[in-house]
Structures are given as C-alpha cells and as structure tokens.
Symmetry: C2
Subunit: 272 residues, 2 copies
C-alpha cells in the first residue's frame, strides 16, 4: 500500500478528462493535478517550448512527492515524453501510447484516423507508434484547432459544434477509416457530435479511458497501489494547482469533471 499521490499535469483543463477516469476507476488513490493555465494552450507551440514547460511541470509534481506521473496532455506526450522519462525516476505515463494501442486493437480494416492539435499532428507521434505495432495499418491524421475552444466554451452539443465537426471530419470519413483516435484530452467532451458526424460504424478511441488502463497496470507492476476504497479509509485527497487565477479553472473544470473542485491553489512554475 502506497498512499503517495498520482501526479497529473496538462497544459490547462483538458487533462481533467483523464483525471475523471482516474476518479472513476481508481477511487482510492490520492491525486494532485497541475494545470499550466498561465501558458495554455501547448498545441500551437513549438516542440522546444513544450518540452521546457513539461520539464517544469514534472519537476513541480515530483517535488510534491508523487509516486507516478501522468502526462495528461497529448501535445506534451507527443513531443516530450521520452525526455521527461529520462529526467524523473518515477514511472511516467503519457496519453499517446495508450490511445495508439487502443486503435491497433480496435481496427478491423487497418485504416485509422487520428485527430488532435496542430502540434500533436505535426509530431506524427500516433502514426509512428501505431505503425511500430502494426505496419500494415494506414494512419490519417488531421488537426482540429477549433475543438478546444468549443469544448472550453461548452458548445459541445450544438449546431456550431456539428457544423465545425462536419467541416473537419468530412475528409477523414472519405478515407474509409473504421477507428478514430480522439488525440486531444479535450475531445471526449465532443464525443457525441464527433460520433454523430462520423456515423455509428466507427469506433472512437478515448485516450482518457485507455490511459487509466495503463495507469492501473503500472501501479500493480511497481507495487505502488493506493488504498482500496472498500477498506473504509478516509476520502482520497484530490489536490489542484494552476499557474493562473483559479476562478476560470474552477468554472470550466467543474463542467469537465462533473464534480466540485476544492483544494485548489495558484502557483508559479518555472517563472511563467
């Protein structure tokens, strides 16, 4: 039994979709979440800048005494996961590998679509990992930059979202894919619209769900599982840090998380 927290960071609030799955699937674990809201979004920044920010975020969480680090940001996972793994001495899990694995398992016709931010798509990380697992799979990638602001605005089940999704995804649909990876932690909020546009024959891979599967496996393998909630212990501690003001994070974040955000504090990371 190890009651040190699981650390999760994201550029902002998107990673809360991963945290939500951790709460659901690992309800006894303590968690600490860092949203780098003073420097969000990462998806339009260069690999060099994203890596620098990621190091600073990882360093902050390691200093908080976490037992496992989750990089709950596709952009940071795509461009800086290996570098982070070299820097820290605890297990590190990103969101790209689990999503890619999920897609390889799901596809029947070997045609997989991936949608994400510009930085994630430009990194070709999904395509590289999917092809390393099965090089007969064809991968079609597409950036969907408006999906993040739509999700943050709460316009997720709406005529605007449907129109934007139709515009972006039409081309991908024509490629005859049978599996689509939601390669950005914001996108699960648009699942309904994306599914409607793509049609029901297409499997959507939600990397938040896939990632929590990997987290559970790692906790077991390293022997660092926390309390089991059935053991009647105190409620887990769920701490939040942000690098900009807390009010907007709480407002948008509670919608993402579907529950109250307490224990939140504004901090500085790397002189942001």
């Amino acid at each position: 039994m190890n009651d040190r927290p699981i650390g999760v960071f994201d550029s902002g609030i998107g990673g809360l979709t991963v945290l939500k799955e951790i709460f659901r699937d690992l309800p006894g674990e303590n968690t600490v979440y860092l949203g780098d809201t003073a420097r969000v979004p990462y998806g339009i920044r260069s690999a060099e800048t994203v890596t620098r920010y990621s190091f600073e975020n990882a360093g902050f969480l390691v200093a908080e005494g976490i037992k496992l680090l989750v990089v709950a940001c596709n952009t940071a996972s795509a461009v800086s996961l290996d570098a982070i793994k070299e820097k820290v001495s605890i297990p590190v899990i990103g969101v790209i590998d689990p999503g890619a694995k999920g897609a390889v398992m799901a596809t029947r016709n070997k045609r997989v679509g991936v949608i994400g931010t510009e930085a994630t798509v430009n990194s070709k990380a999904y395509s590289r990992i999917i092809k390393a697992m099965d090089n007969t799979i064809e991968v079609f990638s597409l950036p969907c930059p408006l999906f993040v602001p739509l999700a943050e605005e709460g316009l997720t089940d709406d005529e605007v979202a449907t129109l934007v999704a139709g515009r972006y995804l039409g081309n991908l649909k024509d490629r005859g894919i049978d599996t689509l990876v939601l390669g950005c932690t914001h996108y699960p909020l648009l699942k309904g619209v994306i599914s409607k546009v793509m049609g029901h024959g297409i499997v959507l891979i939600d990397s938040a769900i896939e990632t929590v599967r990997e987290i559970k496996k790692a906790l077991r393998e390293y022997g660092i599982e926390g309390n089991h909630p059935d053991e009647g212990t105190a409620s887990p501690l769920r701490r939040f840090y942000v690098t900009d003001a807390t009010d907007r994070f709480i407002k948008v974040g509670e919608r993402f998380l579907g529950q109250k955000i307490e224990h939140i504090e504004k901090i500085n990371v790397g002189g942001n």
Copy 2:
C-alpha cells in the same frame, strides 16, 4: 526627424491588424513588433498575469531603443496600460482609449456595444472610459471567445463564422445599439461577417484604425516623427520578434498583414 522605431507588442498575431494600419498610414516609420506567442492568449488570463507579461514585453522593446510604445492588445491595454505608463519614460498608446473615443464620436442614440475577450470584457475598461467621456451613453459588453480561433484559422468569411457571430451577437442586436466596438485586435478580420449579422445601420469601430490616428497625433506632439516616405530615403526597417517558433507566426501573420514577414527572430522574454 527621429528614425528610432515605433515599438508594438501584442500577445500574439492580433496586433498585426494595428501594425498594418501603421504601415498604411505612416509608411516612413521604422517598426519593431513583438508577438508573445509562447504565452498567447492573454484574453483568458488573470489581470496579474497579463500585467507581468506586459511589463516584460515593454521592457524588451524599450531596450531595443523604441521612441513610442503601442500596446496593440486589448487585454493588456485594458488591465495594464496605466502600470506600463508608470514604468517606461516614452509615450505609450493603448488600443482601448482610441476605440472608446471613436465610439463616443459615432453613436447617435447613445447605445454602444463592445465585443472582446473575456479578460477585456471583465475589466470593464471600455465601459469606464466611454462613460467618463459621456455618462449618458449605455454600454453593452459581450465576450466572443471563439472569434480569435476563427480568425487565426482563417475561417473569417464562412458559414461557421456566420453561425458563431449570429449566436454571439443576436442578444447585442436586440439592445438597439447603433455602434459596435471591435474590442479585440483579431476582430477586424471578421468585420465582413460581423457587419452582415449586425446589419448595415450599425457603425463598426475598428480600434486599429482609431489607434493609428492617436499614434500620429503623439508623434507630432512629441516631435518624434520619422522619415516621410516622399523624401526618397531607404525603405523603413520592419523587424519582428516572437517568443515561440517563427513558422506559425509567419504563416498566419502574413495573412493578417497582407504582406511578407521578413527580419523575424525568436527571443526569450522574462523566462517564458
């Protein structure tokens, strides 16, 4: 005659709409533009964070030897203009005052709308300045967060933009305003759509154009006007600095500016 450059900063590329008007109206002036692309967007950040970033940007440009500073970002002008003016010893011009003045001059029925980012609207800066000039004017403010990504994506003359504009502006239209301030430097790119949605009876105030009027006045007043282009001198030097990679800035920026971006360099500001 003073050939030191005019310094212009913005959180990213939006301020290029102001720079474009400087090129058009003051073609003999040397300019240096700083886009803080590693920390864009400012519009969702707290006043404290925006002020810190603004100080760092202003400090960088002053060290470049500028003769006048233009804060070509509504968010930074709204929350930190007075603080910047106290810090630097050259004339400083923001985009809020000129836009507010333009609206006061234009309105006949004393009902003015203002659209901008969340931070600009929350600051109530336009409303405060307009009412200080004429307290019989009613001001109706509205944040339009999706307009910035739409402009950056180039979806400015498009079904999506029309639908989003209709959604945002319908409420404002019902208020019976006769003047609408485009309180964000990105919004002039959406002028066509905004004008279509609002109808032709409504005057749109483009703060880029209003701001350049103020810049010309300040250059005259302080006796620091640059070369006149008719004097047959060398072409003005138009330098650009960004805090993240140059490629995306060049791609999107050339569309904003309607001309080539040369002399561009990536720099670090305040350990961003």
